[in-house]
């Protein structure tokens, strides 16, 4: 197999503020292969968006302090010149933002925002060609009467159509990597499903690598081949989607799973929120960042959770599934203590 298209290695992003240094992302490593989808989950402020914006070099170079390495198709992005980054942005790597109403310019027609994205990377193309391409892309993402809607302004589109237009804009240059930052958060549920289907279809068609950033595990379960769970700016669990969802090994991931409402409506299953607040990024907790909110610290000898940062290393289920936790046998704890509370029906069946 060839090298992964995106290799993030030991990425650290800090922002100096008046209150001190914000450790937005700390020593983060992950990879995404061509044609695969990585789902990044975590709470607000866990570093999901900051890390993926770094892939495009979107942080202000004068303020953000970025160390480590991000290789896109073999090219190092950290420290790359602005002119070279520009060639990457929108061409090799495209990004779809949440809330398409805010992310599309209210004063320009949808079509001209699409053609602009095309023309900047195809300087030899004529305006007519770019317009044809824009209509073609709007058609591909399922916007009816694209030849007419291309001249509409974003506010004349519905929410779902705006997100489709964002996707069309992201894919107009056939990017090899598409980063979708909470692509469905601002949409209602039925439209969410349509957008996710669309993303999946397009990924198959273009064979691009996709990163989906979300705090919605339902979206992840549907879309992702691999999952990266982030907490307090660090990766805390990483592995194949099925593994992470069925045999999660980090109490924070358990917490995320417990917070998902069960649509099947089993009254015995409980919705358990994670107690406490996300950690401060100015002054992160000692040891494992999750320990102040963790219900399982007593199972670790010597109070290690609050003194020593656990490594992100392979858990008991195999080398492909990494976890950052001091628990020696997390799978047993999950199956005996967590699962019976959040999904008792699963145990009755087996």
């Amino acid at each position: 197999m060839s090298d992964p298209f995106l290799v993030v290695d030991d990425l650290t992003v800090k922002f100096p503020t008046e209150d001190g240094l914000v450790n937005a992302v700390t020593e983060l490593s992950y990879t995404v292969e061509q044609g695969k989808t990585l789902g990044i989950v975590g709470e607000s402020g866990s570093g999901k968006s900051v890390s993926s914006m770094a892939v495009l070099g979107l942080h202000d170079a004068r303020t953000a302090r970025i160390t480590g390495s991000i290789k896109v198709g073999g090219q190092e992005v950290v420290g790359l010149s602005e002119s070279k980054l520009r060639k990457l942005r929108g061409k090799e790597v495209a990004m779809i933002f949440q809330d398409a109403l805010a992310a599309l310019h209210p004063f320009y027609k949808v079509g001209s925002q699409l053609t602009e994205a095309y023309l900047v990377h195809h300087p030899k193309a004529t305006k007519r060609e770019a317009r044809r391409k824009a209509i073609e892309m709007l058609d591909r993402v399922g916007i009816p009467q694209p030849d007419r809607r291309v001249d509409d302004f974003p506010h004349q589109f519905s929410g779902g159509m705006r997100q489709r237009a964002m996707i069309a804009m992201g894919l107009i240059n056939d990017p090899k990597l598409l980063i979708a930052d909470e692509p469905t958060t601002a949409l209602d549920v039925t439209v969410q499903a349509q957008i996710l289907d669309l993303l999946q279809d397009l990924q198959r068609e273009f064979n691009s690598a996709v990163i989906i950033i979300t705090h919605d595990l339902g979206v992840i379960a549907e879309m992702a081949d691999d999952i990266l769970v982030m907490y307090g700016g660090r990766g805390v669990e990483n592995g194949p989607a099925k593994e992470v969802l069925t045999r999660p090994q980090m109490p924070y991931t358990w917490g995320l799973l417990s917070s998902v409402p069960d649509v099947a409506g089993d009254t015995a299953s409980k919705l358990i929120p994670i107690p406490g607040n996300p950690p401060s990024l100015l002054d992160p907790p000692s040891g494992c960042a999750f320990h102040p909110r963790c219900a399982h610290t007593d199972k670790v000898a010597g109070g290690l959770c609050s003194t020593q940062l656990p490594l992100l290393e392979a858990g008991p289920t195999g080398p492909g599934h990494l976890k950052r936790c001091h628990l020696t046998d997390p799978v047993t704890v999950f199956e005996n203590e967590v699962l019976p509370v959040i999904a008792p029906e699963l145990l009755e069946e087996s």
Partner: protein, 335 residues
């Protein structure tokens, strides 16, 4: 959109009527004797109560305001005959009355003064927009740097100087101490007479308005630009791979112009309505200076006319801003 403009115009006409009516009513119910000024000038300062009564009767101040006001408004559209000291003068439309001081139609003198006021206002506004907006954009792009902070704070200091003092200092520095070569004798010379003198005469006023306005517009533009640069759609533009230049000027600046244009609409109307200090200090015979003189001489038709002009200027410049909005922001155009 057309219906919207018509609505705004109608509302504007109502405002103008109310403004002129309220000034008109001052003549009736105010503490002054409106015919006193004209009586004094016609009798060489020997106005007796009997003579005053003659003039009061002649000017219609003994009639009810609601019979005189329609006549005044009608005169603006059709012209009318006005009798002062048994001498009837035809006042052509747009008739704003006759000056109590010299008996000439007010509009004739206003016509002569309008170019001066427009020259001062347009030139000054042009200069402060030309300086202020780019400076504000540059400062916003360098937000938080020493250059940005020193620019913002020094402009804050400058704009807190009272305007009349600022104008006098401009006069002192540019004309007396520095003797800038392009500055001629302050005053208004019509462009058609001598473009060089026109420019030289107005240069100081422009510089003064330009610098003072620029200190404010730099701050407005900077604030609007800082906000625009943090918008999601500006990040989208950057993520597309657009050059920095296009991100800043095409995407961010277009959005930042909207609040700047709003303030400008109000400002420019005020500027037209009376740059009294500017005209006084730089000796320009415009509307502002005229209004000041008229108040001192109790020349009521001129006071009335300049107030009406101020209302028209404000209403029209606000209407212009509304039209500009719709050019800038398609959401306004279509709703």
């Amino acid at each position: 959109m057309f219906a919207y403009i018509v609505k705004r115009l109608l509302a504007g006409i109502v405002v103008m009527l109310l403004v002129s009516l309220s000034i008109f009513l001052l003549f009736w119910y105010g503490p002054s004797e409106p015919a006193r000024a004209i009586c004094d000038s016609k009798t060489s300062q020997r106005c007796t109560p009997a003579k005053l009564e003659v003039f009061t009767e002649e000017l219609g101040y003994n009639n009810a305001w609601y019979t005189e006001f329609p006549e005044y408004v009608g005169g603006i559209f059709t012209g009318r005959d006005i009798t002062i000291a048994s001498q009837t003068t035809r006042c052509e439309a747009p008739c704003l009355g006759l000056s109590y001081k010299n008996g000439k139609p007010v509009w004739d003198e206003m016509k002569g003064r309008l170019p001066a006021t427009f020259s001062v206002a347009i030139g000054g506004a042009f200069l402060y927009l030309l300086l202020g907006v780019p400076l504000g954009v540059a400062a916003a792009r360098r937000r938080g740097t020493v250059a940005d902070k020193s620019l913002v704070s020094s402009f804050l200091v400058l704009s807190s100087v009272p305007y009349y003092l600022f104008a006098l200092l401009t006069f002192l520095y540019f004309s007396v101490l520095f003797e800038a070569p392009f500055i001629g004798n302050p005053g208004y010379v019509p462009f058609s007479e001598s473009p060089v003198d026109w420019f030289g005469g107005l240069a100081l006023a422009w510089i003064c308005l330009g610098i003072f306005g620029c200190t404010q517009y730099t701050r407005y533009a900077r604030g609007a630009m800082v906000e625009a640069l943090s918008e999601d759609y500006v990040r989208t533009a950057k993520a597309k791979g657009l050059p920095q230049r296009e991100v800043v000027y095409k995407h961010a600046l277009r959005a930042a112009l909207v609040p700047v244009v709003t303030i400008f609409g109000i400002d420019f109307g005020t500027l037209l309505a009376g740059t009294i200090f500017t005209e006084k200090i730089f000796d320009i015979d415009g509307i502002g200076l005229w209004a000041l003189l008229a108040v001192g001489q109790k020349d009521l038709p001129i006071v009335q006319a300049t107030a009406l002009f101020a209302a028209v200027a404000l209403i029209l410049s606000n209407l212009l801003v509304d039209l500009l909005y719709s050019v800038l922001d398609p959401r306004v155009r279509l709703s």
